[in-house]
């Protein structure tokens, strides 16, 4: 009953209608996007009607009619997938770019598959041979492509789950899922009777479960504190809080481990309420650290005291042009716990002046380590 072209336009109409309804409920009922999607649905429906009425406008000769009847193509999902891609593109134009990009990807993939399928079906009268040439033409792309997409979807869904769960729940979820996968794999490997349909059943069930859980997690969003931190930009340099007290946000999840792949010019210690520093190659403690100008240099802060401390580096002050107010310039580590360490990488373009020297200090601890930039 439905001609090939009409199937495409009917599919497009359906997708556009569904998108429009979803858009109205999820985003904004009176937005231009909803209007655009309804417009697409209406125009597609019109064209679907035309193509149905004119039977795609095709006029077959007798021979062509026989040939078409003989070589009638089999069922194909690609038209509908192509239509889905088109709908995603239109939806993405009205919503978020990621949906648009996804739509382009689907359009490209479906277009390629549909073209190859059409070509292979007309290659000969032998359907087995046609399948063979189709496989040869596109097999090398299909499997890796599907695998990449599949893995990407799995990774994305897992990530949504972990972002929405709390730290402890996420750990338990991960352990349980890993254990289940391991157990199933073990059973399949050692129980040959379980292979075949059972494997397929388990795989499908797993995929559905992941889709459902991942989808729910994605819709529910990140857990609260991550969302707030991201929104308020808590970890940026502008929000460093370098006082002696613990900061609610800046010191949250202080990174108490240091990767020492970057070479370190000096290490500053707090021990027994005193401040001291050591540099590579110098046997004694030093009270001055020299850092070359405009060169990113790392200093490690190691807290050997009982209480938490942070290292602060004072780099003089500058006058704000708009207000004429002098503001302190500097930076600091997060609060560091007992026997833990943090790193500061400093790039200082100008030397200090005698009026405003540079120095390291630890709030609450007497003493300072001079910082010289020649």
């Amino acid at each position: 009953m439905f001609t090939p072209s009409s199937k495409y336009f009917v599919g497009l109409t359906g997708i556009a209608l569904v998108s429009a309804i979803l858009y109205m409920f999820l985003i904004n009922p009176s937005d231009l996007g909803a209007i655009a999607l309804f417009g697409v649905a209406a125009s597609s429906a019109l064209v679907a009607g035309f193509t149905l009425f004119t039977r795609d406008g095709d006029a077959f000769t007798d021979e062509e009619a026989v040939a078409a009847a003989t070589y009638a193509p089999g069922a194909s999902i690609w038209p509908i997938v192509f239509a889905l891609g088109a709908a995603l593109v239109l939806t993405g134009l009205a919503t978020v770019p990621v949906v648009f990009i996804l739509g382009i990807g689907v359009l490209f993939g479906a277009g390629l598959e549909w073209t190859i399928q059409n070509w292979s079906q007309r290659a000969s009268a032998d359907t087995a041979f046609n399948s063979f040439v189709r496989e040869r033409a596109i097999g090398a792309l299909e499997y890796p492509g599907l695998a990449a997409v599949g893995l990407g979807v799995i990774a994305y869904l897992f990530s949504r789950v972990f972002l929405s769960l709390s730290k402890d729940a996420g750990t338990i979820f991960f352990i349980v899922v890993a254990a289940v996968i391991f157990a199933i794999g073990f059973l399949i490997a050692f129980k040959p009777a379980m292979r075949g349909k059972a494997t397929v059943l388990i795989a499908v069930a797993g995929a559905v479960a992941l889709l459902v859980i991942g989808g729910i997690a994605a819709l529910s969003g990140e857990r609260h504190e991550l969302a707030v931190a991201s929104e308020e930009d808590h970890y940026s340099a502008e929000h460093r809080e370098c006082e002696v007290e613990k900061s609610e946000h800046y010191d949250h999840h202080a990174n108490n481990q240091v990767s020492l792949r970057s070479a370190v010019t000096a290490t500053i210690f707090v021990e027994d309420g005193k401040l001291r520093a050591q540099a590579i190659g110098i046997k004694k403690d030093i009270d001055t650290i020299t850092i070359p100008r405009s060169l990113g240099t790392t200093v490690i802060f190691r807290n050997l005291d009982e209480t938490e401390h942070r290292l602060v580096v004072n780099l003089g002050s500058h006058t704000v042009a708009e207000t004429g107010v002098k503001e302190k310039v500097g930076t600091c580590t997060q609060l560091t716990g007992k026997k833990q360490e943090q790193a500061l990488t400093l790039t200082i373009p100008k030397p200090a002046t005698p009026e405003e020297p540079y120095f390291f200090e630890v709030p609450g601890i007497e003493g300072e380590i001079k910082l010289v930039v020649p």
Partner: protein
């Protein structure tokens, strides 16, 4: 018969010529004036490398000559003379085993000596002095952190020439501001890369006072071949004098002199990139250079006490005229310290090169200084640009720079 004799005679002449040329080439390697000769160690670290070379080189040489000679002999003896192809065998296991074991044994002997040298050269626990070395296109910066036991009470910064005391285990902490460079003073030790974001350690120690030449040995751009350095070893007393001089306060030239006018030119032009510690602006505030705003790698040579050094422009050019330079370079160990510490006087200044540099630095040393091509570096220069100074400005600047002792 005559033809055969002629052929033999021409072959003999050809062989003699080839042998003669090869000999000459070999002898050319025995130059006496080779300041970067790795066989002329002037310190214990370089001596360890040289000692290792003396073991490995003859072994490798003998093996190499044997292999080449044998290969040549076989190629000649069994060359194609139309004879049938000999029967093909499946190898001789005894020969193959011997030919595996013998090289392995030779390599083991070489390896033992090599590893021992490597670990000895990597020792740093007994360091007596630290110098931070920073490579930048295309010069080397040296800063001496505070080390009160050596009289260094305030940090010293210099470039081009690394000054160190004799008989002292000096540890260089090398890094780079831009690309990878490599520090190499053959007379004192091997090479060590200066890598951005990392600190690599290299030990230097000189047995006697003198100047030791070196150069960058990791390709680093347009003027890699011109990125040189010198290590200057002074006796401990002379080094203390050098340190005291480097820590002397800046003295502004007297008013009304050409040098004073040169100070003004310096403040207007050169301070954009070059720092002279203690130099003050007209309003009395410190004149702080801003190379981070003008130079891609963020720094330019500090010119404090410039005339206490012998070189400039990344040690590419001498500040001393030829005869004065020879006087310093060829001085005996006993005289060297005094001659070096005398610095550069007006009569000894290499005015030609210094003026040419001030006139148009990029013409003297390739440095990507074309202002129309600076988009990749955000408008910043990689080296010194052409400042368009007048001859009058140059006269004043030279007079001023001479006061920086």
């Amino acid at each position: 018969m005559d033809t055969v004799n002629n052929v033999k005679s021409s072959r003999r002449r050809f062989s003699t010529t080839v042998a003669g040329l090869t000999g000459l080439l070999f002898l050319a390697g025995c130059a006496t004036n080779a300041p970067q000769d790795t066989w002329q160690a002037k310190g214990p670290n370089a001596q360890k490398i040289s000692d290792l070379q003396w073991i490995v080189f003859p072994i490798a040489g003998v093996v190499g000559v044997l292999v080449l000679a044998l290969a040549g002999y076989i190629m000649f003896k069994y060359r194609d003379k139309g004879q049938p192809i000999p029967t093909q065998g499946h190898g001789k296991p005894t020969a193959e085993i011997i030919l595996t074991i013998v090289p392995a044994l030779i390599l083991t002997v070489v390896g033992v000596f090599t590893f021992r040298a490597i670990f000895e050269l990597a020792k740093t626990e007994d360091t007596e002095m630290i110098i931070n070395v920073t490579g930048q296109q295309w010069w080397w910066e040296y800063d001496y952190p505070v080390q009160t036991e050596l009289g260094i009470n305030t940090p010293i910064i210099s470039s081009g020439q690394l000054v160190m005391p004799v008989g002292t285990k000096v540890l260089l902490r090398e890094t780079s501001r831009d690309v990878i460079h490599s520090y190499w003073i053959p007379a004192l030790n091997g090479k060590k890369d200066a890598v951005p974001g990392r600190i690599h350690l290299l030990r230097l120690e000189a047995d006697k006072p003198g100047i030791f030449a070196g150069q960058c040995t990791e390709f680093c751009g347009l003027s890699h071949a011109n990125m040189r350095m010198e290590a200057v070893a002074l006796s401990k007393e002379d080094f203390a004098k050098w340190v005291a001089n480097q820590q002397k306060a800046y003295t502004s030239p007297a008013d009304g002199t050409l040098a004073k006018e040169g100070e003004t030119v310096f403040l207007n032009q050169c301070v954009r990139c070059h720092q002279v510690n203690g130099l003050k602006k007209a309003d009395g505030t410190p004149a702080l250079a801003a190379p981070d705003e003008n130079v891609y790698s963020g720094a330019a040579p500090n010119l404090s006490h410039l005339m206490s050094r012998n070189t400039f422009a990344g040690a590419m050019f001498d500040l001393l005229r030829k005869n004065c330079r020879s006087d310093v370079w060829d001085a005996t160990s006993e005289e060297f310290g005094a001659k070096y510490l005398a610095g550069v006087s007006e009569s000894c200044l290499n005015q030609t090169d210094l003026r040419a540099w001030l006139r148009n630095a990029p013409a003297m040393k390739p440095m990507y200084a074309d202002p129309t091509k600076l988009t990749k570096t955000g408008g910043k220069y990689r080296g010194m640009p052409n400042l368009g100074l007048t001859e009058d400005d140059i006269d004043k600047l030279v007079a001023y720079l001479l006061t920086l002792k």
